[in-house]
Amino acid sequence: MDPLNAIVALTNFVLIPALAYGSQIALGALGITLIYGILRFAHFAHGDIMALGTAVVILVTWGFQAQGIGLGPLPTALLALPFGIAATILYLLAVDRTVYRFYRKVKAKPMIFVMAALGVMFVTNGITRLVMGPSEQRFADGERFIISVREFRDWTGLAEGLALRSAQALTIVVALIAMVLLFWFLNRTRAGKSMRAYSDNEDLALLSGINPERVVVITWAITGTLIVLAGTLYGLDKSYRPFTYFQLLLPFFAAAIVGGLGNPMGAIIGGYVVAFAEMGITYAWRRVFTHLLPEGWEPTGLMQILPVDYKFAVTFGILVIVLIFRPTGIFKGRTL
């Protein structure tokens, strides 16, 4: 029995990766939830917008790398982030002007909005293919590890190693800062409060003199920022591939719905719930249990509930369970 090694193995293979992945999902789900609360439709173009915004970040990063501009131990992509964010916000606002604003004006049903978003998704997907192509891209540079397995073993003398990659640490820190700033904005500033008011009661917000078009612009700007952050961090942590980014739509929506649509805090909690469930259910627990159980009791199988290929099935399962038993989510949100 060796609980210490078990904890280290668990931290290395589940806790740290899930925390990073959960932060990325939370950033995406925040956008979904904000758009749902303010514009009142399910933004299906979210994953592809993320792919496009991140593509801009990658292109600018390559440009910086070619000119030898970098941030030393930190990835160059951080320097390229503002460009990607600005481009994405402009793109979202252009889409809003040309597509969504019309449907807002005619007070279209949510389903029509969703179809419009689906169209935007396909177009955005096409643009990304033209700009970046469909294949995998790497753009990470800088220091790769904060703690490497070998260093950790040498320090502690434990059998299990623990690695903390800089992309993981960066993800958690950046996501935390973004969330704190978002909540400060929503709860403390006049513009943020007007957004919440509009989300709460549209008619009364109009009566109070809140300009809906302004609220919409702020919402897209925040969403664009969050989604490019999420995409860049995901790309640094794992890798960039447009199709993978599109697929992230499922965990984004699952997180937003689990937390309660329209509720930002719910989206964050939901993000971590989805990430930990995905990681926990697809992780082969044999190592952890080998350390935990008395000698001779070691499991012979992998002790893996589902193969990693099925991680989206986990998310889908959570989504279905929540929609059946608690459609308003953990924090009471709206129902889809």
Partner: protein, 244 residues
């Protein structure tokens, strides 16, 4: 009693004169006139479907008038949107969905003052003096409050623009009789500060008791118009509309 025992005086703060119109289809209002004087309480009562709320919405610009005119302090505002009317000094408390439920009481009041560029902390203090319970609950989400307290939040929110006219659509709908009495007391206090009040009420007897002027509407037409006191004393009004 004649139909217009008290013709609206020319210096009424707010007057909707000879309003005719509806929500697109057939007319609901037929040459209906509603007016309120400075610092007075005017109450619109009448049976179900008499067009009470419609008359108030017409005054606030929420439906298009085919004929007639709405004037605020002598200025013709018939063509203005509700939002523009708020900026002119009108405040409206809808019957339903009249608060921001997930926001705190204080934030609700702040949102009421959204169009104000100046410091509104003085107005908020006045609202808290008028509704002391709101001061105690100012950090609580408005949606978690009781029905009567929510109505106080709704009225408080509307008062934040420092309006000259406050319009209330059935403020006592769904609250207990005790809370209703308290709300009416508060409404009288608001009127004493010089704000004119126009309200639609189901509880006709109690509302007319505090009204300076009452309008009894039937099928979108003015049936009786008089002081609240006179209407309460009128045997015909009592028999037809106040249950004897």
């Amino acid at each position: 009693m004649s139909e217009h025992a008290l013709a609206p005086s020319a210096d009424a703060v707010l007057i909707g004169e000879a309003m005719t119109g509806g929500y697109g289809g057939a007319d609901i209002l037929h040459s209906c006139t509603i007016a309120v004087e400075k610092g007075e309480i005017a109450v619109i009562v009448g049976p179900n479907g008499a067009g009470k709320s419609t008359a108030m919405k017409a005054v606030f610009g929420m439906l298009k008038l085919r004929e007639g005119q709405v004037r605020l302090n002598g200025e013709d505002i018939t063509g203005l949107s509700p939002q523009a009317r708020v900026r002119k000094g009108m405040a409206f408390v809808p019957q339903n969905a009249n608060i921001f439920p997930s926001m705190t009481v204080e934030e609700n009041l702040e949102m009421g003052a959204f169009i104000r560029e100046d410091d509104f902390s003085g107005t908020m203090k006045q609202v808290f003096e008028l509704f002391p319970i709101l001061r105690d609950k100012r950090r609580q989400a408005a949606g978690e409050l009781s029905g009567g307290q929510r109505q106080q939040v709704a009225v408080g929110r509307a008062l934040m623009t420092k309006p000259t006219v406050l319009m209330l659509d059935e403020p006592t709908a769904g609250v207990s009789p005790i809370v209703m009495d308290e709300l009416f007391d508060r409404i009288i206090e608001v009127a004493r500060t010089g704000i004119s009040i126009l309200m639609v009420e189901q509880n006709a007897r109690q509302a007319l008791a505090i009204a300076d002027k009452g309008y009894v509407l039937v099928q979108g037409r003015n049936r009786y118009t008089d002081t609240g006191e006179a209407l309460l004393a009128d045997p015909e009004v009592r028999k037809s509309f106040l249950g004897g």
